[in-house]
Amino acid sequence: MTVRPTPIKGVYFDPFWEFVQERRLRVQRCQECGHQWFPPSAGCPECLSEDWQWLPVAGSGRLVSWAVFHKQYFPSLPPPYTIVAVELDEGPILVADIGEGDVSSSLVQDEPMELVYEDATSVDGDDFLIYRWRRQAEAAARA
């Protein structure tokens, strides 16, 4: 699963994806009230301050939910594949896939997860790094 639909672009998504290319996913942190948010936007949704910084996330979180795609939506993404929603330690929920196949039977609610970065090619032909989720238990087994 290396060819993927092109990531979303925009004023705030462009730097977000540049950080991902450095293997360092970041969310925004408000300098006024400390609120941390995602997806990236112009200012703090809590206090409307435009004084914010990009905060590198630790890359770990807990598994909130999952879904297994059995219908094919994109030519380059053959089903089945499993999508997970993970609540980052920093607060926001981040959705990504956890790999090819139906891995739902191995997943446990609230289990610890970690971000990994992998090579991918967009359908437009550009090479880029994408982030995905991996079970910490699986990472420990590999180590």
Binding site: P5, P39, S65, F74, V95
Partner: protein, 390 residues
Amino acid sequence: MSDQSAIAGEVAVVGVGLTDFAQDWKRVRAGERPADGYGYAMRAFKRALADASLDKNDIDGIVTSKLDYIRLAETLGMNVRHAAIAETDHAVIQGAMAIVSGQADCVALLYGSAQRSANAAYGGSGTGESSPLSYRMYSPWGLTSQGGLYALMTQRYMLETGLTERQLGQVSVAQRAWASTNENAVMRKPITIDDYLAARYVVAPLRLFDYAIVNDGGVALILMSTERAKRVAGDRAVVISAVARSDLMVDTTTLRPRLMDFYHTGHRAAAERVYGVAGVGPDDIDAIQVYDGFASRVPFALSGFGFTSDDKIGEFLDAGNLGPGGKLPVNTSGGHLSDSYLHGWTHQVESVRQLRHEAGPNQVEGARRVQYISDVGGKVTTMIYERTGS
């Protein structure tokens, strides 16, 4: 604080119209294109006018959704003094607001969609710039559909409440039973729970029968002040006795209101207001129409509005409450899963038919109040319709 009560009891439905869902489904399957969205709206409009014994010149306001009202008014040859585009079911509220605020005296709510014959794509590379961010942001991982988002939400709900796939299947089974006696419904062949479980997953835990059908059609409703509606339509006037809306947009793209709350905060806020204004509670509701783009929206809504609770939802569905003869009839025409998926609009017409006691074999005996519930994208919207006759 506003309790959204200005509309309460002041506006009524005097006419309703639908197109021929089942017939057009067959024509589209045969390769025909029976109409465009405006054409379906026109057909439904003519039927609603006939139903209300009105002429199009009696209409001085229109509200639509999805269609461009300029082109719609042109297509129908109408120069009105109020026109608006609303999102799906909010058209009812928009139309009622126009009447109570004196913008118009007689408002037609008009909807039409050729989504099937025009090959509308839900998910995949057809997801355009105008789609919600949550349909676009997750595309590199293959998640672009509302179904994928509802699969995540349903899975979480199952983890939290113990609801099983078999229990969820009771929603689709019950609604197909309603559709089986509705001649206009697209999908009428009854299904059993075993049929449900044998059907393929689309995005697990959601199966084929958990998804709304994608079909062509049109819907029209005509609104007036209740006072005038009773003069014009007598006991066939159906009053909008309360409406309420409560949005959950904060963190919507990360799916937090879905996954962590199942939109219940919005359900509870809207329930408190709608029942408060109408002076009734869940026990006084004779039938419910839930915007059921996906089957699991029914348990989310029934639990959130207090008809049951999250910890009892599985047994509540298992008890067969939702179907014909059940204690809490839900989506009595078959809903979006089996009757027609026209974005909440058909549910308004079904509410009116039930309260006029004109729902034929699907009539809920003695229905006096029907509640509509929707939470599309976290915009929790509800209305209570009430019968005027004895």
